[in-house]
Amino acid sequence: MADHAPTETLALRVQFDTEAQQKDAATLGMWLFLVTEIMFFGGMFAVYTIYRSWYPDVFAIASSSLNQIIGALNTGVLLLSSFTMVMAVRAGQLGQQKAIVIFLILTLLFGGIFLGVKAYEWNQKFEEHHIPGQAAFHLDGVLPGDQGHAQLFFSIYFAMTGLHALHMVIGVGILLILIVQARKGRFSASYYTPVDVAGLYWHFVDIIWIFLFPLLYLIDRHLVK
């Protein structure tokens, strides 16, 4: 048996020929998962496109009831978290163990701020009676007969921002695990794959928000002043 036992490291498992091959396989696997995520969110974007094309005026009024300044600032926070995430990956490439931990914690912090602001925004919706299905649902500026279409906008708003936030929460969980592992010195310049693929996931969630922000917050703002 001893003859068979190959020297196996984190960066080079037995089933791979080279470290580069193992890294490429991990990257490709993560991208394949992200492609399934594209299709998952794609269905929601299709729903959004159809209903917006059917009720463009109501969607414009409903969109304008969202606070675009908060939305824009929160987008900035999320982009900032993507920046710190890529800096953590860079620290991994350079084998700077302390920097990995610091940048991961910063990413966690900005992700947390984003989720906190999101929670505040959702709470606003409850106070403004903009919750679909609520008996007291009412959106100003929309005819009584069109209130149902306004509810549709908010259904899509909650489903899409909710699913996005769920992905953020999962990302926060991944970050916590990575921070613990990074503190133990598990990652080095030859092995930082978990940080790398977690980065891909985090940036993907960022890209989803890059589309959600203009599509939900910025429809025909000039119509309603």
Binding site: A11, W31, I38, I69, A72, R90, F213
Partner: protein, 104 residues
């Protein structure tokens, strides 16, 4: 094809800072431009800016610039299927009612 692992491309901090600034500026621009009346083009502009931001994140933050051809092919394949999902769905919803229903 196969290069030693030491040859990992490491982008400079300056590159990442520039990309971050570009993304933040693009966010400010798309927010500001939404208040301008561009008619039907407001959606085109909003989605155009979003696509530019997506490309910046994907190419630089997600290292697609340095990734293998196979990985790029998989990403393009994913976008192709997304296009099929959106476009073929909309060919139905956008053209309903153009032709009457025979016998009705």
């Amino acid at each position: 094809m196969s290069h030693p692992p030491e040859q990992t491309h490491i982008d400079s901090v300056g590159t990442y800072v520039k990309i971050l600034l570009a993304l933040l500026v693009a966010t400010a621009v798309t927010t500001a431009v939404s208040r301008v009346d561009l008619g039907a083009f407001s959606t085109v502009v909003a989605l155009g800016i979003a696509c530019v931001k997506m490309l910046l994140v994907a190419l630089f933050f997600m290292h697609l610039r340095h990734s293998t051809k196979l990985t790029r092919l998989v990403v393009l394949g994913g976008l192709l299927w997304l296009a099929i999902l959106l476009l073929l769905t909309m060919t139905d919803f956008a053209t309903r009612g153009i032709l009457g229903v025979p016998g009705k």
